[in-house]
């Protein structure tokens, strides 16, 4: 099928080519800039390695903080003697929580949220329970990992 005349003028063709190419080149450049400006968007680690002696002997009804990437992690020995590791971050708006030994509950002061000894949200705005981690001791390393993560230690 031969057309009587072309569907676009030469001017439109060149303008579109220029615009399109410019858009592609600029977006490539801006992408590079943004990747530099936003390095790692709040990525959390899959596991952290700690020293066992620091955390395994904490007394009952107390917590000890550790670094979970840039966030707060807590080792918590319950009143019945069990030791758990959990993320000390409120499920509501990510404020840090604190343990109140007298009440045996975790408290988030931002919006007055409460969690019980098992991390379940019992009062206030938090919609979900606290995240519980899995921990193991391998030799001289205490490994705290997210549930379901297969821990592969680097060959250091």
């Amino acid at each position: 099928m031969k057309l009587e005349c072309s569907l676009v003028t030469r001017r439109t063709f060149v303008n579109t080519l220029l615009g399109g190419w410019l858009l592609a080149a600029l977006s490539g450049g801006i992408f590079a800039l943004l990747r530099f400006a936003f390095p790692t968007l709040g990525k959390e680690p899959d596991f952290v390695i700690l020293k066992p002696d620091d955390y395994l002997d904490i007394p009952a009804n107390s917590t000890k903080a550790f670094a979970w990437g840039g966030k707060l992690g807590l080792f918590f020995r319950k009143t019945d003697g069990n030791l758990v590791a959990l993320k000390g971050v409120c499920s509501h708006m990510e404020c840090n929580i604190a343990y109140k030994p007298e009440e045996r509950k975790f408290y988030c002061s931002c919006h007055k949220g409460w969690f019980d000894e098992n991390g379940k949200n019992i009062q206030g705005p938090p919609p979900k329970p606290l995240e519980i981690f899995v921990y193991t001791v391998e030799g001289d390393k205490l490994i705290v990992a997210r549930k379901g993560v297969k821990v592969e230690l680097p060959k250091a």
């Binding site: 005349c5 439109t12 990747r35 530099f36 400006a37």
Partner: protein
């Protein structure tokens, strides 16, 4: 037969929205009337635009680097190593900033000597020369202040020498030295001060002065060489003919800068130790070499007077004459050939090139 409707890509609705509120017709008329001469030497017209483009590139890469650089004597060096090793493409942006600055100053000297030898400084464009000279000093200060921010051995020693050299100026020397250093010696205070200059004071000053410089160019138009004075030189509109050509030149310069930055990323030396001896064969950045080579060739004592002071006075005189050339070159101000100042111009260029080369290779 008219085959197409009015193209929607032209944004007619957006243009109408704007036109209903702002009457830019006089501005558009002004823009359309901007003409650029066409002749055998018109390639030199692009040098100013290249400097502008490279400065814009420096602003962008500088802003990116300032996200991560820590301007404190304890952390500066380490923060640069972090940028260069840990961040996505950090090494590239630092390299781009480094080479961008080298090329910007290089093209600035090209622009300077082009306007000098074509005598573009003559009446009515004297203010362009004076503002341009101040912009040159600003650019060199940009280079010096940026260089110290590395806080490695070379940078530290180089700034000690450079600020010490400023201190050798008579009368105002000590005052300038104390002002630049923020104290008696190059310390963390100097770093803070140079950082303030580099990211706040100099950029604002440059934007203002460059804006003025460019506006004055628009008012006078481009100067044509004296040899073409009586000829009828054809002109083309700036928008869009020369603008597209400008952009092509800028793209080539960008390509050059990016390629050099990728293939030759700069290294960083050991962290500065104020008590250590300076590294072997320390040399300032290449655009200072001609000054320091001049200082080196003067003997310690001339006729009982301090050789260095005499050298500094001679250099200052040379720079002052350079600054006042539009005032001194009466002939070109009248539109006449001025061979004396052509010789003077080539003499300055030759001196600069020879001294820089000697300084580089010794």
């Amino acid at each position: 037969m008219w085959p197409e409707r009015e193209s929607r890509l032209n944004c007619p609705r957006l243009k109408n929205w704007f036109a209903e509120r702002y009457d830019i017709a006089p501005l558009k008329k002004l823009a359309r009337e901007k003409l650029v001469p066409v002749h055998g030497h018109d390639l030199w017209y692009y040098t100013g635009g290249v400097v502008l483009f490279l400065f814009a590139l420096q602003f962008i890469t500088g802003m990116l680097l300032s996200f991560y650089y820590i301007p404190h004597a304890e952390h500066a060096h380490k923060s640069i190593i972090e940028i260069v090793t840990k961040l996505n493409m950090g090494w590239f942006f630092r390299s781009l900033h480094h080479w961008g600055s080298q090329l910007a100053i290089f093209f600035l000297f090209v622009h300077l000597f082009a306007t000098l030898l074509f005598k573009s400084y003559r009446k009515p464009r004297e203010l362009l020369w004076y503002s341009g000279f101040i912009l040159l000093v600003t650019a060199i200060f940009f280079g010096l202040s940026g260089y110290l921010l590395l806080w490695d051995e070379r940078a530290f020693a180089a700034v000690r020498v450079a600020t010490g050299g400023a201190g050798a100026l008579p009368i105002v020397g000590d005052f300038i030295k104390a002002f630049l250093r923020g104290g008696f010696d190059v310390t963390g205070e100097t770093l803070t001060r140079f950082y303030a200059f580099h990211v706040a004071i100099l950029p604002l000053f440059t934007i203002f002065l460059m804006g003025l410089h460019i506006i004055i160019v628009q008012i006078h138009g481009m100067s044509t060489p004296l040899s073409l004075k009586d000829k009828n030189v054809p002109q083309v509109p700036f928008f869009p003919n020369i603008l597209y050509r400008d952009i092509i030149v800028w793209l080539v310069v960008l390509g050059l800068t990016v390629t050099i930055a990728t293939l030759l990323p700069p290294e960083i030396g050991q962290k500065a130790d104020p008590l250590a001896a300076p590294p072997e064969n320390i040399k300032p950045e290449w655009y200072f070499l001609f000054l320091f080579q001049t200082l080196k060739i003067f003997p310690g004592e001339i006729l009982g007077l301090n050789g260095e002071t005499i050298a500094i006075m001679l250099i200052s005189a040379g720079i002052l004459i350079f600054f006042l050339i539009p005032l001194l070159d009466r002939k070109s101000g009248r539109g006449e050939r001025s061979p004396l100042f052509t010789v003077v111009g080539y003499a300055y260029l030759a001196y600069f090139l020879i001294m820089t080369t000697i300084g580089y290779f010794t």
